[in-house]
Symmetry: C2
Subunit: 308 residues, 2 copies
């Protein structure tokens, strides 16, 4: 029998649509998301242009009740961090024992929310560095190719991580499995915590940050604060220089606007609470100083509040 | 004989025009500044509306060569900090022994630039909290009444500080003399260092900062960093709670946009180098940490660079 019988993408924004679209070539996929996007997909399919150039036909569930409940479903979370709680409450009624929950969301803490509502079992996390941009309802761009890493949060679920990794690879999403997904998630958090608020505040594109040497000092201090917070929480970071990695991302995505800057420019709520705000929460009760993460969180929230 | 024979306002922006206008009722005053403003004053006088409501007739010097050199002149510096060096070079040719230099500029370090070029003698500093806004050439608004404090930087010039304080009071600018002008200048620096970059970055009016409790934490940390830097430089701050004072300014100027926010909005260069940038320079070689002042300086410079 094929594994899994059904994948439900919880939050079909840019990344969720990409993953759902590609997975729909190898298994049954349903998307939950915004109505105008799903309606367009229902009518004309999901068009991905750019590196991937093809139209996919995942099932678009305009209302969650559209989704036929099924045992062994894999729920892939790609909603914004501030909507995780709402998403978990919405899907709660469709969940069976043995279902699997994979969060591909930015930041940290989303797995805690899932665990709190849906129990300890079958929770996985993943990080992906594909660059996907939403163009218009029914159409996304695959602008940058990246790596995807998946891992289980409990040793008991390692085999599920293996299976999902296989599924992703069969669908054409190059993926490796890891036993240290927390380290991978925190490594991505470091990069996001350093780049996102600074670009959101200044309005700079990623590459432009490199033109301000004084700003790179601040990037370095944020990286250090998050690294220290990770260590205080017994996270084992991948063995690479995280500042170098962060500068590398700035260099390799020169023309990009960070997701947080895009959110600010569009007057939308940012994911600051799941990124720098989460670092501040994880630092509480430890002796790690997170002055800059606290200040950047406050500044971004003020900019966000101001835009409304 | 009247003292002084001549006051030259170096940088007749909003504050400089205000001081020059009022002083012109008790002594001869010349303004150096932007041509369109000076031309309007030459034609119709300087109109001050608001708390002060009157038209004054200081002499407007379109080119510095318009100014007749005279012994015993008082040069009042009200140019932006980043123009102090240029201003000093411009007036250098008109300076006689015994002339006096009074800086009423924001931030710290301007007196050092004056000293470096014009010698040790006769240098005074002052702070004023009048709220003055530029409306159009020839017209400024006196929006908020404040206190002015003047003091000499060397004990030997205390009598000059006394005389100038008398002059200011006779002109209707309520002024007191102090023997600790450095403490007063740094006290104002603390308030500016905390309010200016945060409002410039977020776009908030002063009073709106109070609506973000997390932002007030950052305000508190900036205050602390500048206080520590002052102490490490043997500055004796006035005996008041500087955080309380800063919050008081936010409360009392609720609707105001800080000068730095106004500069950002108008695409002009800010005084960040004389304010938070100066704190960073004064902290060098001490063991005081100024992480936030460094980061705020970098962020404001990036925003400034971006706007261009």
């Amino acid at each position: 029998m094929e594994y899994p019988p059904h994948v439900i993408i919880v939050g079909a924004g840019a990344l969720g649509s990409f993953v759902g679209g590609l997975l729909s070539t190898v298994t049954r996929v349903s998307l939950i998301g915004r109505e105008h996007h799903l309606r367009a997909i229902k009518e004309k399919g999901l068009h991905i242009s750019g590196i991937t150039d093809r139209t996919f036909h995942p099932r678009a569930a305009i209302i969650p009740e559209d989704i036929p409940p099924e045992k062994g479903t894999v729920f892939v979370f790609t909603v914004k961090g501030y909507n995780t709680e709402l998403a978990v409450e919405t899907i709660h009624q469709f969940v069976h024992e043995g279902d699997v929950f994979l969060t591909l969301q930015n930041g940290v803490g989303n797995d805690d929310i899932i665990r709190e509502h849906l129990g300890e079992e079958g929770i996985l996390a993943g990080v992906t560095s594909h660059g996907i941009t939403f163009v218009e309802p029914g159409h996304i761009i695959h602008a940058g190719k990246g790596e995807t890493v998946i891992g289980a949060l409990r040793r008991e679920d390692d085999d599920i991580a293996q299976k999902l990794t296989g599924l992703f690879n069969r669908a054409g999403i190059e993926t490796r499995v890891t036993r240290n997904i927390c380290g991978e998630v925190w490594a991505k958090l470091i990069v996001n915590a350093a780049i996102n608020p600074i670009t959101a505040i200044t309005g700079l594109r990623n590459g432009e940050v490199l033109e301000f040497p004084e700003l790179l000092e601040t990037v370095g201090w944020v990286v250090e604060e998050v690294e220290n917070t990770a260590r205080a929480n017994e996270i084992i970071l991948p063995p690479c220089d995280m500042l170098e990695k962060t500068l590398g991302v700035l260099k390799n995505t020169t023309g990009n606007k960070s997701s947080m800057l895009q959110d600010i420019e569009r007057g939308r709520r940012t994911e600051i609470d799941s990124i720098n705000g989460a670092v501040v929460r994880y630092a509480e009760g430890t002796d790690v100083g997170v002055l800059l993460n606290r200040s950047l969180t406050a500044l971004v929230k003020a900019v966000e509040g101001k835009e409304k």
